[in-house]
């Protein structure tokens, strides 16, 4: 297709290695009607469907004269729609949204103290990676609008992320988005808040004020779009200033977990990241302590060598020992190792079994005080032990019938 002007909207991805995506080239014209050229890898199976969608979106925006070239490598409908919408809104400055159906499976909420061992980062403008992310069972899936999206692609990525939130099955993973740095990131929120995002990551956080701004904008959008489900926050500490301000950030409203990002932090210190992590020991401890003081979860930085599972395992063991409750991952293969080594180990489970058993026996006897051997056990300890048991059962590390087995043993 020939284009007549240089006012072209170029949206999406194409070229070598691009799959399950599409690229839209579009221009508005004075005359000539609606001209659509489709080059699709799945023409023989979905050519009619795709054309119907393209013409439908053009009609929705009331365009009379437009030239469109769609180069498709097997994009699903939510992706095609996002690309078309982004192109049209770039050219027309329309604020009107073309909303595809919300999957009923995606309607769930998450709780404040949900287990957050792993959260899988996915680049916000790469739909091919989103389709199957949930089947690898990460605790959370982060659609990243920040560092994983090139500046020129920031605009179109918001449409992909919004449509993914609506129409791609997350298979029960916590639905997370990393917005851009505040204040610019506040503009991302209208693409997220009305679409049942569970948790937002706030990058390069350095003050409670930034969190307040995010909360304020969320409240305003929740009222406007009549959203009632909670939207949790996970600030990421990535600078020396952020580390020193970590307590006030951790104590902010709706913050349920706080993460540390070591790539930027070590750059800020003017040092390099090492395997042993001596350079970040202070920062990690500071973040852990701030989190525990605020009663929230402490989340460690990602481990970037996706081929080295042994080193990942060592890192997780050290991280857990420092007090972290989970970490980020950048490849689905890391999920299992992360779950395995943050999960309660055999000694922890054994101890928890004894405590919970003592509690059950004490309750049966009508005793107000729980004791194990000569030691008194406080109610929060019992509660933590029960939570650990539940977690071990849910992860298949302990039989649901553990107590009978425990009593028989």
């Amino acid at each position: 297709m020939e284009f007549l002007t240089d006012k072209l909207a170029l949206v999406g991805n194409k070229g070598k290695g691009i799959r399950s995506d599409c690229h839209v080239t579009m221009e508005l014209a004075e005359s000539g009607g609606i001209q659509v050229e489709l080059i699709s890898k799945v023409e023989s199976m979905y050519g009619d469907d795709i054309r119907k969608l393209i013409f439908g979106i053009i009609a929705y925006y009331g365009l009379q004269n437009v030239r469109v070239l769609v180069e498709d490598t097997g994009a699903l409908s939510p992706v095609l729609a996002a690309r078309m919408e982004a192109a049209i809104r770039l050219l027309t400055s329309s604020g009107k949204e073309y909303l595809i159906p919300m999957l009923t499976e995606n309607g769930y909420e998450t709780t404040r103290d949900r287990n957050r061992f792993s959260r899988l980062y996915l680049p916000g403008n790469t739909p091919s990676l989103m389709i199957n992310a949930g089947i690898h069972k990460p605790g959370g899936i982060i659609l990243d609008l920040e560092d994983a999206v090139a500046p020129a692609k920031k605009y179109e990525a918001r449409f992909i992320v919004r449509n993914a939130l609506r129409n791609m099955d997350f298979y029960g993973a916590e639905r997370m988005v990393r917005i851009n740095q505040v204040p610019a990131g506040l503009a991302d929120l209208v693409f997220l808040v009305p679409h049942n995002v569970n948790l937002l990551l706030i990058p390069k956080c350095e003050s409670a004020e930034q969190i307040r701004l995010v909360n304020e904008k969320i409240s305003q959008l929740k009222a406007e779009y009549k959203v009632s489900s909670p939207i949790w926050l996970m600030p990421i500490i990535e600078s020396a200033l952020g580390v020193l301000k970590s307590l006030e950030i951790a104590q902010s409203e709706n913050v349920v977990a706080m993460a540390i990002g070591l790539e930027d932090y070590t750059a800020d210190l003017g040092t390099r990241r090492t395997q042993e992590g001596t350079e970040s020991f202070f920062a990690r401890s500071m973040v852990v302590n701030a989190c525990k003081a605020a009663g929230i979860q402490a989340i460690d930085s990602v481990f970037s060598d996706i081929a080295d599972m042994e080193a990942l395992k060592e890192t997780v063991i050290r991280s857990k020992a420092l007090g972290f409750d989970g970490m980020g991952c950048i490849h689905p293969r890391q999920i299992r190792v992360i779950h395995e080594y943050y999960a309660p180990d055999a000694a922890e489970i054994e101890k928890a079994k004894k405590i919970v058993n003592a509690f059950i026996e004490a309750t049966a006897k009508g005793l107000g005080v729980v004791s194990l051997g000569t030691k008194m056990i406080d109610p929060p300890v019992v509660k933590r032990a029960q939570k650990l048991i539940d977690l071990a059962v849910s992860m298949g590390k302990l039989s649901a019938d553990w107590r009978n087995e425990f009593l028989e043993a």
């Binding site: 023989s44 979905y46 409908s77 689905p332």
Partner: protein, 525 residues
Amino acid sequence: MDQENMSKYDKLTTNAVGRIVPQVFNGKDAVPFLGVGKFKPTGRKHGPPIVSVADYPEDGNKIVPSLKDALIRAGIADGMTISTHHHFRNGDLVGNQIFDAAAELGIKNLTWMPSASFDCHSPMIKYLENGVIHHIEGSMNGALGRFTSEGKMAGLGVLRSHGGRYQAIQDGDVHIDIAVIAAPTADCFGNATGDRGPAACGLLGFALADSQYADKVIVVTDNLVPFPCVPWQIQGNYVDFVVLMDKVGIPEKIISGTTEITKSPDRLLLAEMTAQFCQETGIVHDGFSFQAGAGGTALSIGIYFAEMLRRQGMKARFARGGSNKYLVKMLEDGLVDYILDGQTFDLDGVRSMRENPNHLNTSPFTSYNYHGKGNFAQFVDVVILGATEVDVNFNANVVTHSDGYLLHGIGGWMNCLLSKCVILPIPLFRDRMPVIRDEVTTICGPGELIDVIVTERGIAINPLRTDLIDKMKGSSLPIKTIHQLKAEAEKICGKPQKPRLTDEVVAVIKWVDGTVIDSVFRIDK
């Protein structure tokens, strides 16, 4: 035979799996598929002409100056069938030269019978266009498949499995006039081996039938050794002429293809689910046997098997190959007693085949031939195979894509279906293309032989396998029906349109017993 004036095909009928197939093509009669094990052959095997030592060089030196010269001496003529093997895969330098020589000699209407074709054979298209080659009996991959699908081949393409090729040659369904056997190492008498030499490819099993049944046999090598060439994987007593040339294959392309385990997390998940399925059903047990293809997913399953065996202190009795470094490591680590190898996929496979007496050279005769007194594939405990499509009746396709194009050969796939348990680990959709269809475009495997479909979103067990269904009750793996899986894919991708095909047959698919199981139809451009 006057190939030019005969009709491409005739007498269409509906076979036992409801597919429309011709009963006459390329001037010969064929039997439509009757059902698994239903066709009973009669008669005696085909045989090559009786010859006399008196007509061969007294000193045993059968070397002639060039391939062209050998073809002339072999009596190359219009309408003949010329066979080749594919042990050099995409690094084959000999196949094209045969037809270059035939073209120079003005020969027409040849039938080319490779054991498989690769991208490097795309230059054959010019000979298919100008009449040097009339049609291909073997496999039509990539560009050759596209050419066939668009109805451009003069004759009808015939696709066979590796075992079916041996059967067809043995039974005389195809008569080979001249077999050209490219060999990494040979002597002047014609003894040849694939396990050494610059173009080492491991073994030459695919050329066994050609050596035994062709009228004339030409061995071509770039590594001539003094008599005797040992081991003699191909026996010189079958060979008429030996040709020495500079280079018979490109080593890095011989040892190529999908020989690394997959890094795709989705594929690894498939592999892991498949391995876990085999564990939970008791398929993996001390002394079991398996065969996994060469794809990245299949290789990864081998690695999971190895881990399971090591953890449980067990070992497999034998693995059927395609061998590669992972399988060789299992052999060397004592996790499997024997590799019964049909083709080697990498240099570790070649080395092991050469050095390890427990790494055995097999052929389509021992492993796959259906018209024999048994074959190895039948009693393998589990085979892991791929497929382009599967339908709700578990019928599977391995040759055409959902757009109707013929793009792959059958290989040993069809023969492996006779094993005790057939598992297809396949993604539920590729990009936007769902793999489970109402009806496959082309049936290569009847559903009754396909036991389990493993996808990343669930595992479907063939309702005929009530034993497996019972064993998986209460499993943590997501066991679903094939209809559930299909619905899940269509919810994500949408309901696909049917491919636009004409009713003109361009190729036929032969079942392992030589009957016709399906036709490939011309694409409607």
